[in-house]
């Protein structure tokens, strides 16, 4: 039967070259080594020096042997991140504060830019050059919508003031 199928699919280069009837669930997932019931007793790689603050999941007893260092927690977002790491990865109390911290961190980043004398070009950062080149109608529609919204809000505010 498989020979018939090879004929049928001869136009597809490589058809069936990796077919493996032994590929039943779990097979490609792991290469069994007998290590399954070991816990944290493998020969650990040398530990990277912790010369910045590293938050670590409370589902592990120590920091992994290597880790990234460029952006340690800081500011208000850092306070939230530290609190989040008191909870396990299984809890919304871990993840939701991290998402909130990310949003606060955006404002912190904006202030950092200003502090360093850099006024961020938000349109360029959002890739509006490309949008203008490839999706001009979309850009114009957004600008028109924004203008309409702004005009609507302004009109409502003016009407309210006149009403007073």
């Amino acid at each position: 039967m498989e020979n018939d199928m090879s004929q049928k699919y001869s136009h597809i280069k490589g058809w069936g070259i990796d077919a493996d009837p032994e590929n039943e669930p779990t097979y490609p997932m792991k290469h069994y080594t007998g290590d399954d019931h070991r816990r944290l007793d493998w020969q650990r790689p040398p530990q990277q020096l912790e010369n910045v603050e590293v938050l670590h999941s409370n589902e592990r007893p120590y920091v992994s042997a290597v880790f990234g260092t460029p952006l340690p927690p800081r500011g208000l977002s850092g306070v939230l991140r530290r609190k989040a790491f008191k909870y396990s990865e299984s809890r919304f109390a871990h993840w939701l504060p991290l998402l909130l911290a990310d949003r606060i961190n955006v404002a912190e980043g904006f202030l950092d830019d200003l502090r360093r004398g850099h006024i961020p070009n938000i349109l360029a950062e959002r890739g509006w050059n490309a949008a203008w080149k490839y999706n001009r109608k979309g850009v114009l529609a957004r600008v028109a919508l924004g203008t309409l919204l702004a005009a609507g809000i302004a009109a409502a505010v003016l009407a309210k003031r006149r009403g007073k």
């Binding site: 069936g16 590929n23 069994y32 650990r44 938050l55 990234g68 952006l71 993840w95 980043g109 950062e125």
Partner: protein, 384 residues
């Protein structure tokens, strides 16, 4: 050095950042010659991955030239051209020893559910990524692989993630000769999964998406059937009809958290973030696979939870197989497949842009402009 710099959801730019340092005896510093924007980078770009700190450099698909090595590095030397798997793996922990290099326990302090990944938030270890001129590569003796001299760098860079992830998606499907395989998502990973499904002997490969240009690309590149779910009243019903009313033998979710197709999922998952992204593709996949079938998930989701019909998984007896690709395990076979002409990775690349234009590159990829399938970023220092 120049590096991509995340400033907030949908805001990125290129800035000067400090040259990376050797921080561990088995580190290397790699001068990047190519890096890609991955579909999963868009989850970061859209602000959906918790603990994505402002200032992070994304990029987990990159190749380059070794500039410097730590004192314990034995397998690499300055000047080697290497492709670097997206997952950071120690090679020594119980998981790495089982070939689960995507699940290393010694590369990510911040979370136990995921190993370290270059440029993929602090939830994946807090490493800077390869959308930069230089990058720190931990465990240099484990992950980085010398690029064969005859290999095109555009092929090599796609062997860091896209090809292994697409291949493993098909592999986890346990495809038997003649099986009908449905792939949800015609992005680079989905297209590669469809292509690789044939290598495992699939009898029919169907890909589902909503972008016509991607469907047409998939038809040509992966020689598969391709359907637009927007033109189908109900994709699950359509697939039942197409598969003799029983469902597909194997379904592959190659979409993940940014799926389109359901207002409920979009609002709760992407706008309100009450679930870990929009999981409609996964929902369809569960409902489209046959009873006793296999569901392979390589789409990326956040760490909280999603609305999916788990009752149907139980009632249909579906086997779910999922993981981050174990790139190191798969590389020897996949390098050979590329050399033998069974897979043409660089055929996926539609855009090659200078690193300096990273903001435009992200916008084009995220908004699916200019028929974009796959974007490669090239630092100006790549040619030095």
């Amino acid at each position: 050095m120049l590096a991509m710099n995340y400033r907030g959801p949908r805001r990125v730019r290129v800035d000067h950042k400090p040259y990376p340092e050797i921080l561990h005896p088995n580190d290397a510093i790699v001068r990047v010659t190519r890096s890609c924007i991955c579909g999963s980078d868009l989850h970061l770009y859209h602000g959906m991955v918790p603990d994505t700190r402002v200032g992070t450099t994304f990029g987990h698909e990159f190749i380059g030239i070794v500039e410097e090595v730590g004192p314990s590095v034995e397998k690499l030397k300055k000047g080697d051209h290497v492709l670097v798997p997206f997952n950071i793996a120690c090679g020594a922990c119980a998981f790495c020893k089982q070939g689960l290099y995507g699940n290393c326990h010694e590369s990510n302090p911040e979370a136990t559910a995921v190993g370290g990944i270059f440029g993929y938030s602090h939830t994946a270890g807090g490493y800077d990524g390869g959308q930069a001129e230089y990058v720190r590569v931990p465990y240099a003796d484990v992950g980085p692989t010398i690029i064969p001299a005859d290999m095109d760098p555009d092929d090599a860079v796609l062997l860091t993630d896209v090809v292994p992830t697409g291949y493993q998606a098909a592999e986890m499907g346990g495809i038997k000769p003649g099986d009908t395989v449905v792939v949800f998502g015609a992005g680079p990973i989905g297209i590669m999964a469809a292509k690789c499904a044939w290598l495992f002997g699939a009898g029919r490969v169907i890909i589902i998406d909503h972008l016509e240009y991607r469907l047409e690309f998939a038809r040509q590149y992966a020689q598969c059937e391709a359907y637009n779910f927007r033109s189908l009243e109900d994709p699950v019903l359509f697939l039942k009809r197409e598969t003799g009313w029983l469902g597909a033998d194997v379904c592959i979710d190659a979409v993940g958290a940014d799926a389109a197709g359901s207002a409920l999922h979009t609002i709760t998952g992407k706008k309100l973030m009450l679930q870990a992204g929009a999981a409609i593709a996964l929902h369809w996949a569960i409902n489209s696979v046959k009873k006793g079938g296999i569901l392979s998930i390589v789409g990326v989701y956040g760490p909280t939870g999603n609305l999916i019909p788990i009752g149907n998984v139980v009632n249909k007896g579906i086997t779910i197989r999922a993981n981050q690709a174990s790139v190191k395990r798969l590389l020897p076979r996949l390098i050979k497949h590329v050399q033998d002409g069974y897979i043409d990775p660089k055929g996926l690349i539609t855009h090659r842009m200078p690193l300096e234009e990273v903001a435009d590159a992200y916008h084009i990829f995220s908004s699916k402009l200019d028929n974009c399938i796959k974007t490669v970023l090239i630092p100006s220092s790549a040619s030095n």
